[in-house]
Symmetry: C2
Subunit: 245 residues, 2 copies
Amino acid sequence: MSHLVRKLENFVRLSAADRLMLNRAAAQRVRTFAPRTDIAREGEKPKDVHLILNGWACRYKQLEDGRRQIVSFFLPGDICDLNIFILREMDHSIGTITPVSIADLPREFFDEISAGYPRIATAFWWETLVNAAIQREWTMNLGQRTASERMAHLLCELFFRLRLAGLADDHSCSFPLTQADLAEATGLSKVHVNRTLQELRASNLIVLKGKMLVLPDLDRLMSAGLFNANYLHLDREGRQLDSNE
Amino acid sequence: MSHLVRKLENFVRLSAADRLMLNRAAAQRVRTFAPRTDIAREGEKPKDVHLILNGWACRYKQLEDGRRQIVSFFLPGDICDLNIFILREMDHSIGTITPVSIADLPREFFDEISAGYPRIATAFWWETLVNAAIQREWTMNLGQRTASERMAHLLCELFFRLRLAGLADDHSCSFPLTQADLAEATGLSKVHVNRTLQELRASNLIVLKGKMLVLPDLDRLMSAGLFNANYLHLDREGRQLDSNE
DNA sequence: CGTACCTTTGAAGATCCTCAAATAGGGTGG
DNA sequence: CCACCCTATTTGAGGATCTTCAAAGGTACG
């Protein structure tokens, strides 16, 4: 089962036809990208909506003087900006972290969805609303949390999201971000990220080594990051719409 | 002409029927709120979508220990979270700054829109995408900009958005935020907000006194805040959809 | 086995925060 | 219309958190 279907089914149970539709769209117009390359750039005309099939990517913005902020991460099953094609130009860039494969979803796909797949349409709205909530939570994170709270919070979020897509074990997940990536995402310097991670390690909250993250005690990490998962809206909130197939 | 219509017409020209539909919806189910009160609270079940008719409000989140972050501002003509009613509970609160009047838009209103008002539906998508872009820009703002850049940027954004809704003159606008509000929005302390504003005043970038903001040289303020308005997508990007009435 | 990138360490300094108190301003009731 | 009160703004001083700069270890990959 694809990561997208797996994730959306956390909100609403899809029918066989729904799943077929999504899997068909994910099999067409597939492209692959090397690590650390751009999928789309600020200023370009957005043409398609991108569905991440495999790998990690991020959305980032850059100032003229080079300062760079990662404003969100894309994990397998994530969709970059539903309906973005109604805008004239991108206001941010999308770049890969690892090798990434994506499927380009054309406008027509969304026309079909709204015409004949109401459950998918609602699940896409759920996805849009959750993404907005994540972005708000990042605002909170950068505005109010201290360095170690912020880092703990980010790790919790990524772990929860990976688990949702079926990409995490009980206590661990693959974790390809470098400390430089974490710095750009948290608004901290690389040096301070390093020290913050050491702090979390010293408290036995994380084991992070060689692209692998282990969380021995998720509950403690969550409270260290003042993490409340409510903003991820993960408990089958669209239950009443479930397909009965 | 209502602030909402005025704002949406910045994206696409509406027909007389479109405008009638919007104005009718804005006239029903109107409620008013005193300053500094909550319109909706984190944890509640979202029932309607709120359209701000008059006054300023904000979305905020709060940590258990009391730290509070304003994650966005609502100005007249703004809509709080299209389709929010598909979620089970609010992950943030909405509170007023000034006296505020809102119209509650029920689910059925949006059903009508998607059935028979394609231009409004697209304009609402535009609104949703712009709001997401604003939230990303705030992430950038908190993560990368210094205190005075951050403040300059926020003032530019609010000024542009007010102008879009027909609420600003060439160089000035009404500005009801206190320094405490600005502190909660920028993630700075009240004291530092005060000093940052003094800095901007000393550079003749702003005149802020008695709920009135004057921007004698917007271009200079924009460069002080590294402000690029592209993320507001304000130049009639949906032109090809214009009604010919 | 070398090279490039990533992580770690040290030290000094800037930005921003906290605490505390004084001043100014706005609104209300007498 | 003035006096009062409450809230908002301003100022000062000291200190914490985080940054910058520089360099040394590690690790992965060709």
